[in-house]
Symmetry: C2
Subunit: 439 residues, 2 copies
């Protein structure tokens, strides 16, 4: 809080009729807000208006009041068609004329010549217009450049800036990184340190249990704020320390003793990636057998670049016949116990390791719903099987909440956690010399 | 456009410091905007501010200016802790006192008694306070109720309303549906018909080619607006008709002749679901062999409830050894041609059908990157194989743009499109009597 006053202020304005229909979330505003926060700005507000010069002007007036000598980032309404009116709106709001920029015109002419047009298609002429006094920010991946204009001074000495960017996310992001960020640094100086924070990702423990573990520690450390963000992947923690970086480090060191069984990484960490790197350290390879997840676990693992060194493949055994023919699950077991059962999960895991010739096999078989539940095995019942050098063959039953998507997603995540735990055991056993590395 | 003036206006205000950090998108604002648009309101703007009475007041003043006699929906800042100041902000902005509501208090006391507290935890006292004149909207799933207060009249006769809702999405949505919607209908009358629109989903054709096909038709039909929304799944079209529903139907009938090869459904349609229903009609079953997609195609198919009737399973053949052992791809072919090649794709597809004992087999083998590319087979090169009763064994090479995630996603979608086309051919052949239904 106390650092907030010293930080330059920022406001984000997104423009577009389509944003007010609400059928798509506006991804530009949160991205820009995060970018500016990380760059040391205090984001004061976000607004969205339609393609209308009057409403854009109203929003700009409020934004100026909020940021005064800071920065307003505005996206959208810079395209070539007549419903894109952001240039006109800004010129009108600033009380300056729109002028043709010869460099933009030359660039557009070259662009269209390269595509076989001998003259500029007339709709593109709008792209050459800029409010008087604007600096042009070249757009490497699109035809509409960004623009930077000084904000009007509300008090003597104010020197804020308004940045106008195209609404196409890839173009907006490239412009923010390549053109806007260096100018903001030049204009506002090096960023004031934001409140230091760290992300920790956990799996396998519910939010309430996590809070119970952590809260005594939080209460004992002044200035520490912990936010819990539960998702189908587990709970992500954001720990921030108003008291500064040393307090944060101390807290994280203390928390590690409590959290270690469940944490697998920091910001952006993927459990699949953590699993693969542990397996690689052990020299273990992995095969999967998926029934109710239908390939989701394999998809998670192979989303990690380089996964082919460790993940060999597996079987999507959706039909019972495939469980028998490709994984060697005895038909009589399927008949007697049902496909969602401990012996089938164990047999599938062993079949996965055998079929892929892998050191670790993992299997998922469950009732993802909405149909197929029974009093004995309600929707959400999932059996997991695992075979590894550290554990032998083991199985576990879990009852997941939610609908089909949630059950499947959580089941794939849980399977990753089972492999992770087996690999942790393997690494510990190896450290203590009781088991050599598999292969 | 002409209908817009007659519609009551709406504004959405979301409140919360965390929303300005930008690390999570605000999902409430677009949901409410879509809800209000569907209910016949013209959404005039969206704003987000932190938990600060002054800034909330500024935003409310702008919102009031925008909607005048319409509705402002505000979410967040209604929790029990002292950083939740929305009640104070609204009371201050309206110039009315905060009063304790006895019914809220009684409800909270009952709530906590049921949980073993004999007295109300004191932090919850804030939840009982409401701006004078507010109507309380009971919240069935949380402790903070919604509130409805009249907006100040800017001109004589104005009778707008301000609705305050908790920021927890499930609570907000339940309150909007159960409590707010009926009150808005009572207050503003039955919704004016919104501009009729329809969503069409296409796959396998780029945005520019689609626009080239459609634009002559669009120019020939006044009042038709087509928006193109490209994604990794293909291009979604939103067609709206200011001229009304008959004009929309006429345009869609005309467009069908042009779009038919690429459309597979309307709003929310999934290509996987369309594929499965066509296969089911034909009595065909499906097996897959996935290399670079690693299970993504299976995951897409099994995301559809009831897919087990048609999708039998398959092989994730990430390692070459698995391609040989489980799909029967000759090791000598892999050696001579490489894993990303036409003969391997064909052999994998046939192996998938054989292994799953399915009538259709589809195979994906490609270079998803970032490593593994070569001048001959750059990153993004994917070979597809397909065997079906209607096509025999066929193969196709596609070069996809983008990074690893995009290549894998587009490849799975392309495989679905190949199956879809084979099934369409099967249905046509069947219609013409040249091929009986497989099984």
């Amino acid at each position: 809080m106390s650092t907030k006053a010293r930080r330059p202020r920022a406001f984000v304005l997104t423009v577009g009729d389509e944003l007010l229909l609400g059928d798509r979330a506006d991804t530009n505003a949160p991205w820009i807000a995060a970018f500016l926060s990380a760059a040391g700005f205090a984001v004061e507000g976000v607004a969205t208006v339609g393609d209308d010069t009057g409403r854009i002007g109203e929003a700009l007036s409020w934004a100026l009041k909020r940021v005064r000598a800071g920065v307003v980032i505005m996206t959208g309404g810079l395209g070539p068609t007549t419903d894109d009116v952001s240039r006109e709106a800004v010129a009108e709001w600033l009380g300056v004329p729109l002028l043709e920029d010869p460099a933009i015109r030359a660039g557009l002419e070259a662009h269209f010549r390269a595509r076989g047009f001998d003259r500029l298609p007339v709709t593109n002429l709008r792209l050459t217009q800029v409010p008087a006094g604007a600096e042009v920010l070249p757009n490497g991946s699109g035809t509409a450049p960004g623009l930077l204009v000084p904000l009007p001074a509300r008090r003597k000495g104010d020197a804020g800036v308004l940045v106008m960017l195209p609404g196409v996310p890839t173009e907006m992001k490239a412009l923010m990184r390549d053109e806007v960020a260096p100018r903001l640094r030049a204009h506002f100086g090096d960023p004031v340190d934001p409140v230091p924070s760290r992300i920790l990702r956990t799996a396998g423990i519910p939010e309430s249990a996590l809070a119970e573990q952590l809260e005594p520690l939080v209460r004992g450390t002044p200035g520490i704020l912990v936010q819990y963000r539960p998702s189908w992947d587990g709970v992500e923690l954001r720990v921030s320390a108003a008291a500064g970086a040393p307090a944060l480090d101390q807290f994280l060191a203390d928390a590690d003793g409590v959290l270690r069984p469940w944490t697998y990484g920091g910001e952006g960490a993927s459990l699949a990636s953590a699993v693969l790197s542990r397996l690689a350290t052990l020299g273990w390879t992995l095969g999967v057998a998926e029934s109710c997840t239908g390939g989701l676990l394999g998809a998670r693992l192979t989303a990690v670049p380089g996964s082919s060194a460790t993940f060999l493949g597996g079987v999507i055994s959706y039909a019972n016949e495939v469980k028998t023919s490709m994984l060697g699950v005895p038909a009589v077991t399927l008949q007697a116990e049902g496909a969602v059962s401990e012996p089938v999960a164990r047999s599938m895991a062993e079949g996965a390791a055998r079929a892929a010739e892998a050191s670790v096999g993992v299997a998922i078989t469950g009732v993802a719903g909405p149909g197929g539940g029974s009093p004995h095995r309600p929707v959400g019942t999932v059996w997991f099987g695992l075979v590894s050098p550290a554990t032998g063959t083991v199985a576990e039953r879990v009852q997941f909440p939610g609908g089909r998507d949630e059950i499947r997603h959580r089941a794939a995540q849980h399977a990753l956690r089972l492999i992770y735990q087996a690999a942790e055991k393997g690494l510990n056993d190896e450290g203590s010399g009781s088991i050599g590395s598999g292969s």
